[in-house]
Symmetry: C2
Subunit: 320 residues, 2 copies
């Protein structure tokens, strides 16, 4: 799958906001006096775990699918995904009334396959390697002429994810910092463009698991590093940054910090017990950044993006 | 602890709504297309698990504490509680700036004791029997002259809980039924008065665990039955109805249905995974009513009260 387009502008993110509004939730901001006291900061949790399909991915997928011309759309869309993007694209295609072809590795959880199928998409299974996924997708595209929507190497997707940043600025006044998890970088890039273009004084902080720290290393060295052998509980953040997102991040993100898996689990449990909201490991990474780097955020007004809430309740990380 | 007052009127519930508004959340209504399809009904989940202290109990406690005259209040308040009412009363007293004395059994979970202490209340521990609790409370009252606030045998508490019903009618139009869990009956009585006085056509359905079905048996026989040896996962619904609430329920509730623990666990998991919201077993009882009695609610617009979200994440009922 190749990169589509250039970095979106603030205007394009605003257009995306209008385009997706009928199909996605304006998710709430949660706060907790107890967590504020615990962290000695003012925390504003942006609950994208309450988004359609349980993750921010609904925004980018809807924006991409509804940006297509009739000509582009009528043969349907396709992608490969083991996670939330597949379900999001299936949902978006269903809303537009076009076909979706989702290539999924044969070891994808049954619950994720069921979610994709429930939205009416066609599932093509393949071996669980990047090569097999790319080949299967190429075969689907050659057979169906479906339009490929990449999960994050795509300007329309980045613009859709950036609407999270617009909403945060509408919902919380006088912010000092925004914390965003980074995997492929689409959410981070979109939010950073929105926030920094509107108010450059707000610090944009990316948070990455220490066991999959390619963005941290790329940002520090100024050269795009590919992630090999990621090892983290945050299964949504295993992928490497793409070139487009790396460029955006270099110019719009203030810093990248890393967190240990133990902090991610602690963040999950605190959010579950105090906010009563179900957060997946990848979704808890940004709050883990506050827990592990407390001094940096002391007494500040900090937005924390909870990116998703999809996980297997029978395999919780604090259970043996 | 004795019953305080008579059944509250709709006007008293409306006064309670104004009185408590500065201190409690107007909790959201959640909905899910997938759960609607799963149940073949239109479901509106009233999220009192997102209330202050994680349960509707905050409403009744705030209303009781802020209904006290200066004369009544200045020596503080007291109660015995192993659960959410203790934390709610501690919170309410803290907001008013008066003392709270909470008698707790010595086997109460450490997390619950910590929550009560965090609100600045004094904890008095005792043996885990009703007699020991009553005695310890009597001793506290004779020593401090604190004002006792019972968790549900109290008109001010019932009026506070009834504000849940007012909010549901404000938030959801054209309802056919409201499902409410029943333990001591304060929430059920308050909601039933609010809903039935405003719109008698809306069916008020109480849901009770089959393993603690004293309300079901009392309602069926017309005579107040005391619960002995309750056996259910819904640890917030073990207590028996009081006389005042039984009278209110007889005149304002349409029916009481019971649910098995297996349905309660299924309801919990569906709410956690689909609504991304953390519901305690007692809080899932009303949704279990829809799952176990599906025909009754088919194609209807049904409000479901999620009463609370406080539980030990290390001991989930679907884990061994």
């Amino acid at each position: 799958m190749v990169t589509v387009g250039q970095a979106p502008t603030l205007d394009q993110i605003r257009e995306a906001q209008k385009r997706i509004a009928p199909f996605v939730h304006r998710t709430p901001i949660y706060s907790s006096e107890l967590l504020n006291a615990h962290c000695d900061a003012h925390l504003f949790f942006k609950c994208e775990n309450l988004q359609k399909v349980g993750a921010f991915k609904a925004r980018g997928a809807i924006n991409a699918v509804f940006s297509l011309s009739e000509q582009q759309a009528f043969r349907g869309v396709a992608t490969h995904s083991s996670g939330n993007h597949g379900a999001a694209l299936a949902m978006a295609a269903g809303r537009r009334g076009i076909a979706a072809h989702i290539v999924m590795p044969d070891n994808a959880p049954a619950a994720k396959k069921a979610a994709v199928a429930a939205y009416g998409a066609t599932i093509i299974t393949c071996k669980p390697t990047l090569l097999a996924r790319e080949e299967a997708l190429a075969e689907v595209v050659s057979r169906t002429a479906a339009h490929v929507v990449h999960p994050y190497h795509d300007s329309r997707v980045i613009a859709g994810q950036g609407t999270v940043g617009l909403e945060i600025l509408e919902q919380v006044k006088e912010l000092d910092a925004v914390l965003v998890p980074v995997g492929g970088g689409g959410l981070l890039a979109g939010v950073a463009i929105a926030v920094k273009t509107i108010n450059p004084k707000i610090e944009v902080v990316a948070v990455e698991p220490a066991g999959a720290d390619d963005a941290f290393r790329s940002f520090g060295s100024g050269r795009l590093v590919t992630q090999t052998s990621p090892d983290t509980i945050a299964d949504g953040l295993l992928t490497s940054l793409g070139e487009l997102n790396f460029e955006i991040i270099q110019s719009h993100v203030d810093t990248i910090i890393t967190v240990q898996d133990a902090s991610i689990v602690e963040a999950m449990k605190l959010q579950w017990s105090r906010l009563k909201t179900v957060v997946e490991p990848s979704g808890a990474v940004s709050f883990a950044g506050v827990l592990e780097h407390a001094d940096r955020f002391c007494n500040r007004r900090v937005a924390i993006v909870i990116s998703g809430g999809n996980l297997d309740l029978d395999k919780l990380p604090w259970q043996q």
